[in-house]
Symmetry: D2
């Protein structure tokens, strides 16, 4: 299976470039008989859409999705669901001067060496814009999981640059442009404004959670649920670290503390993050992501051109000074896609297990 | 593809249970014409073998590997290489009392609910013993990568419980039972002795590195090199976190610092950990793992039995008080398997790219 | 991998319904650096296009293809190539009366029972119209194979209903609407006219050939080249039989005749059809297909409706009285897709074999 | 996925060489909780075992199977089932003289060119001996299908060389060494004796049938049920043709005849062979195979050696003069493996469809 398809049974094939005619995906394997229309998908796309606050890229893309197939009279038919999003607001001239030089921290260098050529407009295939089809596919997955099991997904930012963000309530998350779980976001507004003036960028840490997960999802030995979650999360643009449950803090824990005690009422703690032996336990799945600072900055950086000559690179274009800001809905979608695929895989093999 | 097979082209199918007749794997897709004998594989198996110091499980397994197929007159033929390791030192009676109760922190609970039954002897399929076939397969991969590109793999422990371990030199790693890069390991001996007396366990952090990696490995969008590395690492028993390059530290970095500057002589830093846009850059690949404390401890823990009744669980058997101690060679093998698979995938698609 | 994706490395994901907004496919895994534009693909699409003679369906579809991604400045970039064909000439009202009844010989019955619902317009997903994206993908594959190895594909009709068609020359094939290798096609014109008047349909036998095939393509044990060819051919709408080389005639052959003698100048015969042990031998690959008569006919047939009640079915709509007539370019495309995938697989594993 | 694994969810990975230490397979994805022991598998292995009559190879292999994993206390656990068969009666010296020359009609030539080397002993990997693990895996599949749906598999020979074999009754099939459905087999005994004396070989035609198949198995567009059946059948050693239902006879049929009429009581005929639009209809699945004459004969044949020099080849060793004789149980197993995989795939996607 080639590298642009995700999933074994609920398969999402992603296509497109940042400044090409269109981006989109084909979802194959969706169960039939689920009500689905474009609005179900648009809702999630709108949550990751660029241009919605001054803290993200000013590229203005409606990201309107068209369902090309797989839905008949408002219901999924079990055949492939093709989703199309036309690119609208390309300004490829912004990228003319980076076509022949490699932006530090970017995929320019590696695409060039791997493929021998690359589409440099807006980062081409390596642009975070390609997370839009993933979010669209995720919307289909989460609808099915919600209807089938009551599974819910949510994500928030827990660190912005060096600022650790306290957890107040999930309620605040949709009410601010940062997806932070706090009521007063002035501190983050100021931080981002200063960063932008400094022509620099910062990283972020994102927490993703699934609740209402059925027990039994995950395929040991290699396709464990946590393994597949780590894969999709690390595969998200700019992610450099993934934790499940206690994550790196578990290194310093004792076994007598880490192993979540079980009572007739359920687990007492959730250091495991909802996964034991690679299989969901029914507890909330808890994931944490490290997102690196955006590489596209106005500060000049030393690099080389395609002939190996030293050059200086300043990235103009329109960029997110912290790509983590829009990562929350994407991370939710990725988690939903993994759970969806494993829900079908589990039903296939263990559909009649006790 | 079912969950016990790893890889798209260099496919490793793992089988066996901790106390069954045998464990092993089938490697399909190995290039033909490579010299290979059992000794090439045994070397790596011996590095992860149990019973080699008082700090690891005292189960005595020779882990002698037999090559059943795929090699003719000392050379790989391109056909599947089946590797067999007979289990020798099973003491299944140790596990009689956990057959009907769930050890906290273990896969008992989830296997039971997923499959409706489980082989409880020694953890059955969820035992870390099943990393032996992975290591065996990894030995084949690293031999090919070494001969083809000069790629080298190494790993060391960088934290033991709450003790951060300074990096002195890779030379020390093979000379102590902890795989630590320091000359004097008395501190770690004492720490482990105290832990064992306390009937408890601790976690560890492992660093894994590949050097001599060709540029261009990795398949965007979903099968990025870092995504696949995160998958195999998170899939390793007890792992709760994975970092590539700067990892979680990149959250607080500025873009002007994180993005590795490029000069005609190469990259100036390696915050990326050798991967840009999901594709290897030719720099060293740097991975860090968080390993949780062993769940099998002699301290009694509250749990339930298969009927949901409260019970207390004490895990006797023979266990590693810190599974991280033997993780280094396994992590190397996993990294080798990912690079091997991507090397073949890259040759397939881009074999004639510039 | 779900059922609408073909190939392991050169992966074609097909989407769409006969009367939905659009049909198309995503090709993932195409090598980078190949010149490609829409005209390269349109040429083959035009060869299978409906409405080109009175002997095929009168549905008028331009089948104009749009390349949405994967091509930059006229060259493939190695990223997914999405191809879009808008449906234009749907007349879904023709199908209103078959929405609730099952046409004999059609997929209506099985789709309904499998999925619990179906898109009945024009056969929905089961329509032969969905071969158009396959042909489009095949055009990309055959261009690469031609440039890389000089491989050529051709197909012709060898039997129409009960009429066996003599082989005169490949030159005649593109010059008549039947893809027959004879100069004078009056006999077939008359035959088809009579059939149409009788409100009936007939089958056909198609021969497909690839020449200039490199030796070594095919992956034993299960993914043999002939196995994969049989799969795609039997998967083509209406196909009921597939032969390689001598096919069913080999049953009555003696081993002393069938086994193609080898001389320093090459093979003396080609009963094997270019494949030995599942691997291409370098000889022409020879495939023969049996295509059943079209099930959509104006003659009334007994059937049942979705409630199990007996009904009579007459299929109006616009249909090919012999679907075999347009099968030649499709069969060529399918053969090209299989060879392309195996060429990449072979390069991956055996790229440096002697 | 590499070429020695069959199936998407019920995955069989085959390994071994004819004269290596062992052959076997790993079955991954088997549902848990099914009673299984070695005897369940041995029964089918014994039906294809060599050395059981004078009309097949005299190699004496007990083909005793050992279950290495995946079964605990007599029940499948849902983890991989590894099956091992030690080779016993190798006489590799028989093959010394063909190590450097290519037997006409054999895989020698293509393996050599693909891999650059080959294991020539007994045909190595290309030997029909490797169908034994397939039969073993098939035994597991058919047990599950029988218990779940009552599905039954049977096969018989319908043509031996030029002799067409009338169908009398399935009852006769297990009572003669030819798997023919007739009471008196003297004619076939004589035919085979004459053939052996003539130092020649012949082909055969095999009919395979599955009854009690649930409706709804098959994944359009590419992974249709008939497509996957054609794949495994054409992939069986020596097969040159595959038909479903009416097969090649459908070419001369009229649509008014071929399309099986449907009544409230069921289908009136079965020209479709149990599959419509690539999905099982619930009717018997009917498949027919063309098996070529064995290439290994005592009659001298012209060929070349690995240096391209002309040689004469006489194949001594121990061979089946008609490989079709032992093909019936293998074909049944292959059909069972395809149905098993599709049963799981269907349950995954359509498990809750009406």
């Amino acid at each position: 299976m080639s590298g642009s398809t995700l999933g074994t049974l609920f398969c999402v094939t992603n296509f497109g470039e940042s400044h090409g005619p269109a981006i989109g995906c084909v979802i194959d394997g969706c169960p039939p008989g689920m009500a689905l229309d474009a609005a179900d998908i648009q809702r999630d796309l709108d949550r990751r859409r660029p241009g919605t606050s001054r803290h993200v890229t000013q590229r203005n893309e409606p990201d309107a999705v068209e369902i090309l197939s797989g839905v008949y009279e408002g219901q999924t038919t079990g055949t492939p669901i093709a989703l199309l999003i036309r690119n609208q607001d390309q300004r490829s001239k912004d990228y003319g001067d980076i076509a022949l030089r490699f932006r530090p921290g970017h995929a320019d260098y590696t695409y060039w060496h791997k493929y021998g050529l690359r589409d440099p407009r807006g980062g081409g295939r390596s642009s975070a814009r390609l997370t839009a089809p993933t979010v669209a596919a995720g919307a289909v997955a989460r609808k099915w999981l919600r209807e089938q099991y009551g599974t819910q997904f949510r994500a928030c930012m827990t660190q912005l640059g060096e600022l650790e963000i306290p957890f107040e309530s999930w309620e605040h998350v949709p009410r601010n442009p940062f997806f932070v779980p706090v009521a007063d976001v002035q501190r983050y507004e100021d931080y981002m404004d200063a960063l932008r003036k400094a022509h620099d960028s910062c990283g972020a840490r994102i927490r993703v959670q699934a609740s209402g997960v059925p027990v039994g999802l995950g395929e040991p030995l290699y396709d464990k649920l946590d393994a597949d979650i780590a894969k999709v999360m690390m595969g998200l643009n700019a992610v450099k670290g993934v934790e499940i449950g206690a994550g790196f803090a578990s290194v310093a824990q004792r076994g007598s503390v880490h192993g979540d005690a079980i009572t007739p009422e359920g687990f007492e703690t959730n250091h495991a993050g909802g996964i034991l032996g690679g299989i969901s336990s029914g507890q909330d799945i808890e994931v944490s992501l490290a997102i690196k600072p955006t590489s596209s900055i106005l500060t000049p950086r030393p690099s080389i051109d395609i002939n190996g000559q030293p050059v200086e690179v300043v990235t103009k274009g329109r960029h997110d000074p912290c790509v983590g800001i829009r990562a929350a809905p994407i991370a939710e979608a990725l988690l939903a896609l993994v759970l969806m695929d494993h829900a079908l895989r589990n039903r296939a093999q263990c559909g009649d297990a006790r």
